[in-house]
């Protein structure tokens, strides 16, 4: 603590009651509560709506849950819809997001380490290209990617959705910056003197020291792929391959204006939000989002 803060505490205790220092700062607290409500209320609404049967949805007060077994029957209807295709969509999303996320993290971590810790022919030029590619909007490439893969007859399979998302210039950029700061040259030099091969230094020193960046990159990539809609939307026309986002969209199109089907869509929205939200909020402390803003602190 600095002198200033000690002084402040002294002056406060001298001039007023000790409780004053702990008084809630109302304005920011209220702003934060309003912000939190804005972000959470739609989710609370969907949780409550999922407990209602379709009739209750339009007849009972909005924020009053239904108690007539609506929740179970909605989930049953959802998972039995079209021979249980919803479960398939969940599984597909997991395959795309976990598989694509892991692979792209390995690729970005390896490239970032190489660019951050070695200088070789073209390394500066490669890094400049990658920094420039960060500006290139990946989503807008979806249709060119589709046109190219369609020409090669490679659309409508898992690879068509995973391959274009495997390389993220931003992830490589993050890993390069992090490797540069987190893997000391001295440590690599010491390992070399001890007779370690370059590969072994990468595997047992570099990759471990880069772990915080790798976890962050994985989570960012996971969410990016999980949330992606346009790429599977253009690449796939077999609904057995749909991820959750595309499946739910299709469900909404099919049930379209029919209010009778809302409860099944609501149950689908709930199932796609809650597990992921719990997973990510519980993993929150492993995130290093400050990496995104370039603040590398080791």
């Amino acid at each position: 603590m600095s002198v200033a803060s000690v002084l402040r505490v002294r002056s406060q205790s001298a001039n007023s009651t000790p409780a004053r220092g702990r008084r809630t700062n109302l304005v920011p607290t209220i702003i934060l509560i309003v912000g939190a409500l804005y972000c959470v209320l739609p989710v609370i609404w969907i949780v409550i709506a999922s407990t209602k049967t379709n009739d209750e949805l339009f007849s009972t007060p909005t924020f009053l849950p239904g108690f007539h077994g609506g929740f179970v029957s909605n989930l049953e209807a959802l998972f039995s819809y079209n021979n249980g295709i919803f479960g398939r969509w969940v599984l597909n999303s997991v395959i795309y997001a976990v598989g694509g996320g892991l692979l792209s993290t390995v690729i970005a971590g390896a490239a970032g380490y190489a660019l951050g810790k070695y200088r070789f022919t073209g390394s500066v030029w490669i890094f400049r290209t990658i920094v420039a590619a960060v500006l290139l909007p990946q989503i807008m490439l979806a249709i060119p990617q589709f046109l190219m893969l369609a020409k090669l007859g490679m659309t409508n399979n898992y690879a068509a959705v995973i391959l274009p998302q495997l390389v993220s210039p931003f992830a490589i950029y993050l890993c390069k910056i992090y490797a540069q700061a987190a893997v000391p040259d001295e440590l690599m030099e010491a390992a070399r003197i001890d007779g370690s091969s370059e590969w072994r230094i990468f595997w047992s020193v570099g990759s471990r020291l880069m772990m915080p960046a790798l976890v962050t990159v994985f989570l960012l990539q996971f969410i990016g792929i999980w949330n992606n809609f346009l790429l599977p939307f253009v690449m796939l026309n077999n609904d057995q391959l749909y991820p959750l986002t595309l499946g739910l969209y299709g469900l909404m199109i099919i049930t379209g204006g029919q209010a009778a089907q809302y409860s099944i869509v609501i149950a689908g929205v709930l199932v796609s939000i809650v597990p992921l939200a719990i997973l990510f909020l519980s993993l929150q402390r492993y995130w290093k989002i400050d990496l995104v803003s370039g603040g590398v602190k080791v």
Partner: protein, 315 residues
């Protein structure tokens, strides 16, 4: 992208110091092996499609052979005709205009709200900070499509808990706010965390000095913290602007519910309709390429403006 690299350090007006000397030359092929998969994939799925789209954009189909023009169509050089067609298409400009309206609502809202929340999180003696931060971050884990369905039910007169039977959320002007709201809801928490991290990394002695001089909490937030996190705000703005140009998921998902949304409502929806519904891949490629150029141009522009503003602030 300099804002990215130098965000935390150029605050002091100095060039960022490089932690290591960037590695020395060693006789090893390992780095090349490590960087190769990324380069191959980048060439195959980023550079390749971009080049292919550019080539397609200069072609069109011509039916020839056979006396009555019944021969198989083949691709011939079209010059700039696809570009001219796109730029002459009023729907292209209308879709761009609608996108700009949504961006004009959504981007400032995102920046103001995420900055406000970040400063409130950092305020002294604010309560419920941990819960609020989690709650505001929560929508980031919700896919855009699912968020749109969620808000769709909020807006629908039959199910709306927010007076959807009184307010026409899908009306010809209301729809812009409705779409912008879904987008803002999804990104405000992520941006808040980035800005909050920027605030937290500021040296605390500056605030303590200001406090001794009698500055109020509000003055410290607006006169000291806010100018110091300008580089981070610039970066968040850059991401938001790029995000706005890529608007697709929200309007596409809300389309079945809202008659105001047409199949060519925003630029990316128009490209999709052109390439995948009308099967005009040549025109679609030209439109795609125009959009990519616009996005990159805008991103560079925001970056330059941000750096200028920052340099002026530093003087």
């Amino acid at each position: 992208m300099t804002t990215l690299t130098s965000a935390p350090r150029t605050r002091a007006g100095r060039a960022p110091t490089v932690g290591s000397r960037g590695g020395r030359r060693h006789r090893t092929v390992l780095p090349i092996i490590l960087v190769l998969p990324a380069i191959i994939l980048l060439l195959a799925f980023t550079v390749g499609p971009a080049i292919y789209a550019v080539i397609l954009s200069f072609l069109h189909l011509k039916i020839s052979g056979g006396l009555l023009g019944t021969g198989t169509p083949h691709e011939v050089w079209a010059g700039f005709s696809n570009y001219i067609d796109t730029l002459a298409d009023s729907e292209f400009w209308l879709s761009l205009g609608r996108m700009l309206i949504i961006a004009a609502i959504g981007v400032p809202a995102t920046i103001v709200l995420s900055t406000l929340f970040a400063l409130c999180l950092d305020a002294k003696r604010a309560r419920l900070v941990g819960i609020a931060r989690l709650a505001i971050f929560l929508p980031y884990a919700v896919p855009g499509v699912v968020a749109s369905l969620l808000w769709g039910f909020m807006y629908l007169p039959a199910t709306s808990p927010i007076a959807g039977n009184v307010i026409d959320y899908f009306g010809s002007s209301g729809i812009f706010f409705s779409v912008a709201n879904v987008a803002v809801w999804g990104v405000v928490g992520f941006n808040m965390v980035i800005l909050y991290t920027a605030v937290r990394s500021l040296p605390p002695d500056v605030f303590e000095a200001a406090e001794i001089d009698g500055a109020s909490e509000l003055q410290i937030a607006l006169r000291i913290k806010l100018p110091l996190i300008t580089p981070a705000i610039t970066m968040v703005t850059l991401f938001s602007v790029i995000g706005a140009l890529q608007l697709f998921n929200e309007p596409t998902t809300l389309k079945p519910l809202a008659n105001a949304i047409t199949s060519t409502w925003v630029p990316l929806m128009r490209v999709y309709a052109q390439a995948n519904v009308n099967n005009d891949i040549y025109g679609g490629a030209a439109s795609s390429f125009i959009l990519i150029i616009m996005t990159v141009g805008l991103a560079v522009l925001v970056n330059v403006i941000g750096r200028r503003a920052f340099q002026r602030g530093a003087k």
